[in-house]
Symmetry: C2
Subunit: 118 residues, 2 copies
Amino acid sequence: MAFDPASLKYDTQGLIPAIAQSESGEVLMMAWMNAAAVARTLDTGRVTYWSRSRQAFWVKGETSGHVQRLVDLRVDCDRDCLLLVVDQTGPACHTNRRSCFYTAVRNGQEVELLRPEE
Amino acid sequence: MAFDPASLKYDTQGLIPAIAQSESGEVLMMAWMNAAAVARTLDTGRVTYWSRSRQAFWVKGETSGHVQRLVDLRVDCDRDCLLLVVDQTGPACHTNRRSCFYTAVRNGQEVELLRPEE
């Protein structure tokens, strides 16, 4: 079946959550896409989110160089969430950590799992 | 630092997206939690979402038996998304597939990657 970005379920702001995962399985980040960002990501192979704060396309890594090349795009059963398998250049997180999920909650305490890369 | 579920950033409906990942690295599903669901998940070790359709707690697997035992809970840099590392019993998806992300988009076509388990 041909894929149409319009067939996805977007929220009231026209957005769908997109999870980025490295090929080795690490969950790197979660951000949002609108239908046009989904289409651009597929067309260009460069992961392109929709920035809610800037209300503009966010080509991941355009300023930092920490680009995400799309390896595989997956849709969930409800068609309201995307999983992007990506080839990540450099750290995915704006804090310079490999993943945004660097804080764990263990025994009621926050524990930092990753340090910023040099 | 002590963790407080109220310190997370919830959307206008009081919800935060929660990604469930198996210990082997497979992204299984994405669902939503409110602050009380986060607290219950940590207290009980049984992953508990908030069902937007039923407007009620959703103890994953309560009816299906396909429970998720919490292994690790992680918070992202913006504190507006959670990553749950889980020990998943049976398939995570209501379609009886191991993961909800069983559809890939390749060369413009939707491709089914996983079959329902027996």
